[in-house]
Symmetry: C2
Subunit: 348 residues, 2 copies
């Protein structure tokens, strides 16, 4: 089942397993390299990285592995906030996060690194695979990358989005099921219309899309991997499954509660875009301010300091804990051991 055929050949890996490109501190060079060295495809979540960070991290990964890995970028979208809106959210966050005793600053534009510069780094660094979340990149960007024979992966949460990505020239489509942790990739519909479970999503995409489909969301072990293949997926993408690994960059306290938690929720209070995360007090206390949440990524930038402080103080009430719906099945062993175990189980 984990043959090197088809999608594995396209990706240049032994097994069709992609470690999900979780942005922020999660996808450390150690995690990416461990997955790559074990035969899967590690991915760097570079959406928030500026060119220098990208270069340094790519170099750090290359110190640890000579295997291919992917870099993931966020397709930029329009965002704006008036001074008044920024100040209102500053007041709200200051009140809601009082016990953290931090100052909430008003972030300044630009709120995201320049996408075009990120694309240049991908090309300069000869990254073999580039994946995208939150939309379809411009035809100019796609043409630039394709000219270098870079394999492109798009993220869809419904058939409509998969068709847009297929028509844009992507090589592979990740089907993000509603089970998935972290940001919802929905871009062609309101986010709640893109919450489709993998059991329903994968066969629909397989029937109507010519490209290989990679299933993502709630897959935690070989049961999920086999199920994804049964549905017609050519590969799997797993994120939450690696969170409890020692190589992952999430805080130890988050890793600990992850193992016994099946209560996730969808919130836009941390970033301005809906994410699936473990429930906590911050998410609950921000509910009355739904109408004041700023555009992504402005809200994200405004909450960075409080999230950092929460980690420092080990305060789970405020830590942003992106997680899929099956965190319960997490295993606190190394990524290499996990993949070896799955590999052996699938050989049976």
């Amino acid at each position: 089942m984990w043959s090197t055929q088809g999608i594995s050949k396209i990706l240049g890996v032994r097994i069709p397993l992609i470690q999900a490109p979780m942005a922020g501190p999660v996808t450390t060079p150690e995690l990416i390299a461990a997955v790559a060295n074990a035969g899967g495809l590690g991915s760097l979540g570079a959406g928030y990285m500026n060119p220098n960070d990208m270069r340094n991290t790519i170099s750090a990964i290359r110190q640890l592995t000579d295997k291919p890995f992917a870099v993931n970028l966020f397709v930029p979208e329009n965002h704006s906030a008036s001074v008044e809106q920024l100040k209102t959210m500053q007041t709200i966050l200051t009140n809601v996060c009082q016990e953290l005793k931090i100052e909430i600053d008003v972030p300044r534009a630009p709120f995201l690194p320049a996408f075009d510069e990120q694309i240049e780094i991908i090309i300069e660094e000869k990254i073999p695979i580039c994946s995208f979340t939150f939309g379809v990149p411009s035809q100019t960007s796609i043409a630039k990358l394709k000219k270098q024979n870079i394999i492109l992966i798009g993220t869809a949460t419904c058939l409509e989005e998969a068709k847009l990505l297929e028509n844009s020239g992507m090589d592979i489509i990740v089907a993000q099921g509603s089970e998935a942790g972290g940001h919802r990739g929905t871009f062609a519909r309101p986010y709640d219309e893109g919450l489709i479970g993998l059991m329903a999503l994968v066969p629909q995409l397989v029937d109507h899309i010519q490209l290989p489909i990679v299933a993502a969301g709630g897959i935690m072990d070989t049961r999920g991997i086999r199920a994804a293949f049964a549905l017609g997926a050519a590969g799997v993408q797993m994120g939450t499954a690696f969170l409890a690994c020692p190589e992952s960059g999430v805080s130890a306290i988050f890793q600990k509660i992850l193992l016994h938690n099946d209560k996730t929720t969808l919130t836009n209070a941390y970033s301005g875009k809906y994410v699936r995360a473990l429930r906590n007090k911050f998410i609950e206390n921000m509910k009355p301010y739904a109408a004041q949440i700023l555009n992504y990524p402005i809200q994200n930038n405004m909450t960075i300091p409080l999230r950092k402080e929460a980690i420092k103080k080990e305060n789970l009430d405020f830590i942003a804990m992106w997680s899929g719906q099956a965190a319960y099945l997490s295993q606190a062993i190394s990524a290499a051991e996990l993949i070896k175990k799955w590999d052996e189980e699938l050989q049976k």
Copy 2:
């Protein structure tokens, strides 16, 4: 894979496939008997039926098959509405449904048939299998049924509910994934905390519950069936997959649009309890009245006349179209042919 072992033996069927007990006009005697005669377990959705209706329908099914079938009941829950609340909803529905030109009446208690009388019919009619939705029946009811060796099936949407059902003495647990059409079975949490995709839900239940788990939600063909078994389910329950069959009791116009629709939503405007249904104008237009929706099943009883009229007028803007997230994969062939096809595919 479709052996008569384990769960099939418990249910007395050849293949571990349950036709979902969809209440209302959907589960006709013809559909239930077709599934039973093909080797699966047909289920009568008797939640809204009074004892006489139950007796007559059971007799009609027995004219068509001598195979076992299940009867499903709704575990009753508290509900009330003041005269003022009833009148407010009457006005809202009258306005929203103006173009249907019908009178909205205020329904009177009792709003549901007596659960205890339904249980008596199950016993009198020697129904071999009784399934439940919306909660855990009383220990008295369970004891009565168990005394007659009736097999009991409970419906869970999260591990917490599965544990409650296991402890109550159920024999089998249906894991209702977020993909499923119709009413959400969630009873121990707010409905939105019970929206877990099967990919995440099934392995969690399999790991922590000793009873056989039946996967339900978004399963439309042998890809879904194989995936459910890969996740550890002992059987599958399929509802939407049978909606387009000529034996199903849904309206022809609904059957037609079902085949090309992947836009479901969750609404409580039809019944007072959240259901997954195809989007339409009624659901959209009822959104501003979220705070006025009456308790289930009072809201349900109040909307019955408008739903009937909508079917009569073939007006999709108002027809209640319960559907899972993979309606797109529906096939307009008979239930017998469907099961024969799946059976052959799984033998391969």
